[in-house]
Symmetry: C2
DNA sequence: TGCTTTTTGTTCATGGTTGTACAATTCTGT
DNA sequence: ACAGAATTGTACAACCATGAACAAAAAGCA
């Protein structure tokens, strides 16, 4: 039954990717800790940064960008709105969508959070040269493109997505 | 108030790290999908692989390796044990600890899952040469070491951890 | 030995994420 | 114009992960 299964510990792609995954995990934990003083978590930061760079985006488009379910944003956004960090304005052109925008205080908080994140990344990668960083980013970009191709291994097999194909 | 906050979009360390984070996210989603036929999820795979490579490990040591809370394993392990994938044998030397070990069928499933993961990684990184992979792993390893230093930004600030310092 | 402290695993309340079901709105094709 | 399909956001139940509180066992120390 075992159709030749050599263990992959010596496979360069395999074990180096494992290092990538672990680095992401520890970076995520460190970021969560570094953001505690601002009382936000990494998912909130993702939202805020996207709103900063793309004001007026809809909840659905934001969910697509972040690769999370839109129900997730339906829970998170009202909570950030109550904190006065953003506003959800109904679009007169299409009354289904809510256009998202940072408030001034939301923009301030976002800039603070970005500074914290940038500082963490800079300190963490201080031993990597610009050329090394660019090569890493190059490899990662190819991975992302490979996995997000239309036939890629990424789309969730939900009923809604199945119907969309038909 | 704004003490010079240039936006980091052009900072090589910053934007290349963002690519790393996104690659990890899409790879995690893809792995979850690829593992569906085996009815396990990435966290289960992490557990199984560690048990495969370190038989007889205790729950606490496993939690430390995986960087998750031990209460998490207290929920997950009995469920994997009920599926017959592993056994938890009480240590006669120290009757507090439970020694974890894969069953034969657990080993089989682990090998299948590793094959699936290896295949996914190989396909995804096929455009990256061995040298590129090794450089990526090198950079990631330095990041991990930087973040897991004793004074690093990783340890959770829990009451238990605070007491340990005193 | 006795007493305190530490360690291990479990239980439980809390909060986060997901997918599904649903109402409101817009689009499509005839 | 109008009925059916598609899209947007919400509500909800299920599942996962976490930290705190706890009981049992071991270790440290007088």
């Amino acid at each position: 039954m075992n159709k030749k299964q050599p263990l992959p510990w010596d496979n360069p792609r395999f074990h180096n990717w494992i290092a990538v995954a672990r680095a992401c995990q520890v970076m995520g934990l460190s970021l969560a800790r570094a953001l505690q003083p601002l009382d936000i978590k990494p998912p909130h930061l993702d939202i805020l940064v996207n709103l900063f760079r793309t004001p007026g985006i809809s909840q659905q488009d934001l969910a697509d960008k972040l690769l999370v379910g839109r129900s997730n944003l339906s829970m998170l956004l009202p909570q950030l709105e109550k904190r006065g960090l953003l506003v959800r304005r109904s679009d007169p052109q299409d009354r289904r969508v809510l256009r998202l925008e940072l408030t001034p205080s939301g923009t301030d908080l976002t800039l603070e959070a970005i500074a914290i994140q940038t500082d963490l990344i800079d300190r963490t990668m201080k031993t990597a040269s610009t050329e090394e960083c660019n090569l890493v980013g190059e490899v990662m970009t190819r991975i992302i493109h490979e996995l997000t191709r239309p036939d890629g291994a990424i789309e969730a097999r939900t009923e809604e997505a199945e119907r969309k194909k038909a």
